[in-house]
């Protein structure tokens, strides 16, 4: 499949950047004329992945988060969110709804939300090296 547009950016893993990250992705995707609900699904999923990198990947100690957004033919959007944090030992277990290593204020729902709000999610991770989450969604074509 042919990539027709692409943007890359990185930013420090601070919680004050969560709004920036989902806002930047959503601004880039606007060119596809998504519905309000598609945009909200994407913003929510990006917020989940970025929060995970900050809270779990870097354990709140900071680091860099890298995001690549690609637009492919047929209105397919791919968003890659990468950290160089601690990595995930058992990805399958981490993705189970309600599973969390994050304590009382985490709901354990981040992966469940990404799975439900996007068309596909791929997670790769290496202990001590970091985690990459790739989210894909097809935007419905709003034919005039």
């Amino acid at each position: 499949m042919k990539c027709i547009n692409e943007v890359k950016f990185k930013f420090p893993a601070k919680s004050s950047n969560e709004a920036f990250a989902r806002g930047a992705v959503s601004a880039f995707i606007m060119q596809l004329d998504p519905t309000i609900s598609e945009l909200s699904d994407i913003k929510t999923s990006v917020s989940e992945a970025v929060t995970n990198s900050i809270v779990h990947g870097y354990l709140g100690k900071g680091g860099e988060i890298y995001i690549t957004v690609k637009i492919f033919e047929e209105n397919i959007v791919s968003i890659k969110i990468r950290d160089k944090g601690c990595g995930i030992e058992d990805i399958e277990k981490a993705m189970e709804p309600l599973f969390t290593t994050g304590g009382d204020e985490r709901a354990g729902l981040g992966f469940a939300v990404m799975q439900s709000f996007m068309d596909s999610i791929k997670v790769t991770s290496k202990i001590g090296k970091g985690t990459t989450v790739t989210l894909k969604k097809r935007i419905t074509k709003n034919d005039p």
């Binding site: 709004a19 909200s40 917020s47 809270v55 009382d104 204020e105 709901a107 729902l109 939300v113």
Partner: protein
């Protein structure tokens, strides 16, 4: 982002704007310090004006549910707008009996 109101042992928290891990941490601290001081019977979380929310908005409810249980109080969640319904149903939070 947060307005607190205390009336007849009910502490109402009107939430507004974007609810993510960053803003939820600020909101949680404010609610918890008020709860500690006032010891309300009920903590009402009003979601009416929440424009955006990720799963931190659910974590906020679960955390307050635990806090209120400790002082023998309960939590009520009110006015969840239509655009947040999918997140709420996915979370299964209704099994806590807090949805009003």
């Amino acid at each position: 982002m947060l307005e607190l109101e205390f009336n007849n042992s009910v502490l109402t928290a009107h939430l507004s704007g974007e609810l993510d891990h960053h803003s939820a941490a600020v909101i949680r601290k404010k609610i918890d310090s008020k709860t500690e001081a006032l010891k309300p019977k009920t903590l009402k979380l009003d979601y009416k004006d929440v424009q955006f929310m990720d799963s931190s908005g659910i974590g906020l409810i679960m955390g307050r549910y635990r806090q209120m249980s400790l002082i023998g109080g309960n939590v009520e969640v009110t006015n969840v707008p239509p655009h947040l319904k999918r997140m709420f149903s996915l979370s299964g939070i209704d099994t806590l009996g807090v949805m009003k």
